[in-house]
């Protein structure tokens, strides 16, 4: 009997040793290093359907606790081994418990395979996931090329460098890929709440920057050419046909009326106005609209000349215009006040733009607020231009910007510039039918009605000099040019009041 108990005791001891050795090995394998899984299906944001592969890491501790690191969020819990299965219970009661199995150096949790890596490798994978290289898409690279192209245009050809450099660099900044996931905010991107860029972008989203830009424009614009020959103001109205035909074109392409209105304003060839209106009517389209407006403004020296030569005959291009009369100080002071009253009473929705434009001009023309005018036309407009250009550029984040809609907006934008230019040119020719003798105007100046101050006036001067090297049209072209600014602001106000 004694022998029997001895044999039983030996067996018990032997088996318990075997079992405890097995459990010790299990724990060792589980707690060694980290278990990493990489799987697809993670949305990059709530309003974007693009999915991306992300790493998920389990780390088990000897004290029966574990940490699950998913989308850079840590979920803690306790683990237990029962019948070769690992039971994972999360501290967060909202998360359901999970059962994991350990087979062939792989941990399988809910069908997802986790591979074991040392802590260092898991850390490197975590770092790699944060890098731009991991998160880059062809779209990001394409947009960076576009940004570099803008910078190239600005430096090599001097096309609107004050705008294209900030926008181009902004595009590069906005397309540096970073870790994005639904419900996770790294506060880096322009669309992520709380990021520095997001705060700066507030001025664009809420339409704060455009009126400030208009204040500066008003303080630097000399309206005397317009006051001396007010008839030329009508050319600024004629060229606004670009806005309304593009609006119809956008409706045809299936945009909603509000979106169509925001797209149509590209035809006004006025960046701040375009941003202002799109921030009110279609905030989701600010990026493509602003980029289209500013890029076409910069490309005015390329877009306009062919149509100017096509529509205006060589003989007409040589027409010399009467020198503008001198404008009295009283008229110059009256202009911003009367101008504001007349235009804002007709279209009060354009008050933020027109109010600031005419206020800036009064600061300049009153001659008693030189310091304020200096600030508005130098420091203030420079600061706002930097912020506006940079944030508009950065808003072209590939995953938000590269959509078929953006392509359509670019197409419509180009069309609107062409229509606006042709509208101004044809109207100038029409005006000439009714004008006699030395009152006739050089129809080239009609092209300056598209706004795009002062580039389109410069193009007119250039084309005029090509036809007759002694015929300077710049002064005359500035009249429709600045009236184009007023016209596009009034147009924006009208669209706002119709479509808001």
């Amino acid at each position: 009997m004694k022998k029997f108990w001895l044999v039983i005791g030996t067996f018990v001891l032997l088996f318990s040793g075997i079992f405890s050795a097995h459990a010790d090995d299990f724990n060792k394998i589980l707690t060694k290093g980290k278990w990493v899984n990489k799987s697809d299906g993670y949305k990059i944001s709530a309003d974007n359907d693009r999915t991306i592969e992300r790493y998920k890491t389990f780390s088990f501790n000897a004290d029966q606790t574990f940490v699950l690191d998913s989308i850079k969020t840590k979920f803690r819990g306790e683990w237990n081994v029962i019948d070769n299965c690992i039971y994972l219970e999360f501290n967060n009661q909202k998360l359901k418990p999970k059962i994991a199995n350990l087979t062939d150096d792989q941990l399988i949790v809910d069908g997802e395979v986790f591979k074991n890596h040392s802590g260092a490798v898991a850390g490197l994978l975590n770092f790699y996931e944060y890098t731009g290289i991991y998160n880059a898409t062809p779209g990001h690279l394409l947009m960076i090329v576009v940004g570099i192209f803008f910078i190239f245009l600005a430096i090599r050809y001097n096309y609107e460098p004050l705008l294209l450099i900030p926008i181009g660099f902004g595009i590069i900044i906005g397309n540096i890929p970073f870790f994005q996931a639904e419900g996770f905010n790294l506060q880096l991107g322009i669309y992520e709440e709380g990021s520095v860029m997001n705060y700066l972008y507030f001025g664009v989203r809420q339409g704060i920057y455009p009126p400030l830009i208009f204040l500066g424009i008003g303080a630097m614009t000399d309206f005397s050419s317009l006051i001396s020959n007010p008839r030329l103001m009508i050319l600024g109205a004629a060229a606004q046909i670009g806005i309304f035909l593009t609006f119809l074109g956008a409706l045809v392409l299936g945009f909603t009326p509000a979106e169509a209105g925001a797209i149509g304003i590209i035809g006004g060839a006025d960046g701040p106005t375009a941003i202002f209106l799109s921030s009110k009517l279609a905030p989701h389209l600010i990026g493509p609209i602003a980029i289209a407006a500013y890029s076409y403004m910069a490309l005015v020296p390329i877009i306009q000349p062919p149509f100017m030569r096509l529509i205006i005959s060589k003989k007409e291009r040589k027409i010399r215009m009467k020198p503008p009369r001198s404008v009295s100080k009283l008229e110059k002071i009256m202009f911003p006040i009367v101008g504001l009253l007349l235009t804002a009473y007709i279209s009060p929705s354009s008050l933020p733009l027109l109010g600031m434009l005419f206020f800036g001009n009064l600061l300049k023309e009153s001659t008693v607020t030189r310091r304020l005018a200096e600030t508005a036309r130098n420091s203030l407009i420079d600061i706002v231009t930097i912020l506006l250009g940079l944030t508009v550029g950065a808003s072209t984040q590939a995953d938000v910007f590269l959509t078929p809609q953006s392509l359509m907006i670019f197409g419509l934008g180009a069309l609107s510039f062409v229509v606006a230019t042709c509208g101004g040119l044809f109207f100038a020719r029409l005006m000439n039918v009714f004008l006699k003798g030395d009152n006739k105007i050089n129809p080239l100046i009609g092209a300056a009605g598209v706004s795009a101050v002062p580039d389109s006036a410069r193009v007119v001067q250039h084309e005029g000099l090509k036809a007759d090297p002694t015929n300077h049209l710049l002064m005359h072209a500035m009249a429709p040019n600045v009236s184009g600014v007023i016209g596009s602001a009034v147009g924006a106000g009208i669209l706002l009041s119709f479509l808001m």
Partner: protein, 124 residues
Amino acid sequence: MIPILGNIGIDFSAIPGQGATIAIVGWLIVFAALVLLVIVFTQTPKIIYYKTRKKLREQSKHADIPDSEIHLPGDTSAAIAMALHYYFSDLHDEESNVITIKRVRKTYSPWSSKIYGLRVWPRR
């Protein structure tokens, strides 16, 4: 559908009637606003010149003052401005031509004075 290129065309029926109205009315309003400005600023100089003419008539007691005397074209004003600019910027040429040598008396400053230099042995 109006065909433009092959099968591609513009479907004008997609434009709601409201859209066309907005476009036409909108453009007309822009025109109206600027035409109003044209009217005001075509008439304003006439009023200003009428007042000036009246003032001049009272002062000189001449019945007729030609338009050219009141209304200066821009290039004439520019020429006058340029002449004035040259006149004032060349004023220094009409100096007295008398060269005088004035004794300049320097006020004393201890700055870089030799007596405070490091090479002077301090007196006790």
